[in-house]
Subunit: 405 residues, 2 copies
């Protein structure tokens, strides 16, 4: 059995089915071979073969217990398959203004450790940036007695314009320089495969793997934090646009020559919905009022301040208009409004939903579902972890040899 002869079928082709099987198991948590076969429109024999390979590679395993749901009375019971959580350790890391947050998860996405690394400067040189990432990862790994070498993959979420396929960052607010090829500099400090991606896209990945997007093919994820972000998943794939600078929903124009936005343009949705926009409005009305946070404005509105209520109300109306435009354009299965914290009730109110409904061109069919998801602080890092798991899966499946006869 000389191995010298090169394989006769391309790796890509050889592994599409195994990859599809793995993805399907991931999206269903646990599923039997028969169900995989019918879902992927393939024969049971193929599934037996693919799952055998995935099991021997340590990526999946049979669920030990009895099948919880009997689909029918008689017959051999189906054996459930699920990801083998223990197989690989991966990390997700989100770079924010004042901190990097890291989460370590197993191959199923179960959190094992998390760590918050404060940042002295919001902007760093690429070299400092990469070293800081390494330090943060080391710190997190140490919590569970692991080292960087134990990581099978890391994903880094960053605000800005990222060409994820090439690990290239055109521009980011966290970096002092433009056009950085992280494919070159990450390996110098980090001894495992590392992937960099736009943070809004990673939230979409979080929803797809761990959240409300699980099992869906076409959905949109809107994030509201300082700005308004959008992640687009079409046909199960993240849509990144031609040059990787699409999904700029926060800067969609909702008013001709409208309010001034931080980006320098006018009429952007963000200039009506972003926290800085609300605070600005309030101070324009009355210089003596100076709310520091959106929560302050809430308090005022709740205690009967008409102006505060009006400011929040308009934000909601504009937000609803933007969402209905997304529905009109994409006709998704679901729109997920994804947030780290609570405190954006004015965007999820009944009035906003009414506005959305009244802005969607509706022909018989019901509106797509609109779901609000409060993740808590780790949303961004979890998204990065989801992406890391996905990328590690691809690498590991590629390493599986041809099926043993």
């Amino acid at each position: 059995m000389l191995k010298s002869k090169a394989s006769q079928t391309s790796i890509e082709q050889r592994n599409t089915t195994r990859m599809r099987v793995l993805d399907h198991i991931r999206s269903r948590d646990s599923v039997s071979r028969i169900d995989i076969a019918s879902a992927l429109q393939t024969s049971p024999a193929t599934v037996t073969s693919a799952t055998a390979d995935l099991i021997s590679a340590g990526l999946i395993k049979e669920v030990p217990g009895d099948p919880p749901l009997k689909s029918s009375k008689r017959g051999r019971p189906r054996v459930l398959l699920q990801l083998d959580g223990g197989s690989y350790l991966v990390a997700g890391l989100k770079v924010a203004r004042h901190a990097m947050s890291v989460i370590l998860v197993d191959f199923q996405g179960t959190p094992l450790a998390s760590y918050n690394h404060p940042l002295a400067d919001a902007q760093m040189t690429p070299e400092v940036f990469v070293r800081t990432i390494r330090d943060a990862l080391q710190e997190a790994s140490a919590q569970i007695g692991k080292t960087l070498e134990d990581l099978s993959g890391v994903s880094i979420g960053i605000a800005g314009l990222v060409d994820a396929e090439n690990n290239f960052v055109h521009w980011s607010s966290s970096l002092t320089e433009r056009n950085i090829d992280f494919g070159q500099i990450l390996p110098k400090e980090i001894p495992c495969p590392a992937f960099i991606e736009n943070d809004a896209n990673l939230v979409a990945k979080a929803e797809q793997h761990f959240g409300y997007g699980k099992g869906l093919k076409n959905f949109l994820v809107v994030t509201i934090e300082h700005g308004v972000g959008l992640g687009i998943v079409l046909d199960g794939q993240l849509y990144r646009g031609e040059r990787g600078c699409g999904a700029e929903f926060g800067h969609a124009k909702v008013q001709l020559d409208g309010a001034l936005c931080q980006c320098g343009q006018r009429g952007c949705l963000e200039a009506y919905v972003g926290d800085y926009a609300l605070i600005r409005e309030m101070t324009v009305v009355d210089q003596n009022q100076n709310p520091r946070t959106v929560a302050d404005i809430y308090d005022k509105a709740r205690s009967g301040d008409v102006m505060a209520a009006s400011v929040l109300g308009r934000a909601g109306q504009m937000f609803g208009l933007g969402i209905s435009n997304l529905i009109n354009l994409f006709d998704p299965e679901c729109i997920i409004l994804s947030g780290g914290q609570k405190g954006l009730e004015h965007l999820y109110s009944d009035e906003v939903m009414t506005r959305i409904r009244s802005g969607v061109v509706n022909v018989d069919t019901p509106l797509p579902e609109i779901k609000v998801h409060h993740w808590g602080d780790q949303m961004w890092a979890k998204g990065a972890a989801a992406y890391a798991i996905e990328q590690v899966s691809i690498l590991k499946v590629k390493d599986i040899p041809a099926h043993a006869s």
Copy 2:
């Protein structure tokens, strides 16, 4: 060699390469085997095999003459391949308010006949609709001495909400009834495969196969006629949304509680850009003025009417705003403004382009190309023909037997 045993590989799987080769040849007009191999990342041997099958099926042929461009000095010259135009006759048909327009084309898309069939009523029952289609197709076929039986496929473009994959029309302004399953009733009158699709999507197909979208992977096609339509092509595929009712660009809201639209909602782009909207504006200003067409408004504007110029100007501004939002969301390679007639200069003016540019969130990279395409009357029918060719291709490739050893 008994044929009784069922094939061991699924048809879909068996034909992906052949289909990809065929699509590639179509998108390049003519191309050599070597170039196909490198473009599709496959081996020359595979291309030889696939092209041999396509040639024996009559779908493609070798270009007889010498290769026009010598890529290098020496060596065996590459043989160009192209679609075999003579192989199949297909028809595209567009249903408009007052007429059906038919175009017959060969397999390469070369027009062979065209025919305009006036309609007594804008709305028909499904039965009358199908019979009228048959009559129109017969009339067109007769022009070149053919009959319905000579057609290999027909595609029908219609305004409304169409589930093209299932030949199902949820709603159309041309039909008196909703929820019609044309998969059931078309075969009763039309003896060849027939496909029904939304008309804006078909214009996108026209651009993809015969126009500026040729060879592109991600582009948008905006049509301006009575209303504003949008066709979305992502990764070379028409994006239809989850329920087939996406791409409602004409009803994207560009103004909170803005002008009333024909759809009953307020602030739709169409309510600022559509011809009826412009005419309405003019009469509001001065009841004595009553322009019948947009051309009338042009004439006034050109002869110094400030009001007319203002009406057109605002339409342009709103249109530019909408386009820049599309760019922000989709980041396409190209946006094609596709129109049947001339006479929309106010939407293609320098001011509008400036508005677009000022509304796009731009980071270093250049704007996507914005191309204006005046097709003339047959735009819609040509789009239908493009789709018909595509569908016939799929059917014919499916019929190719396994590769002869």
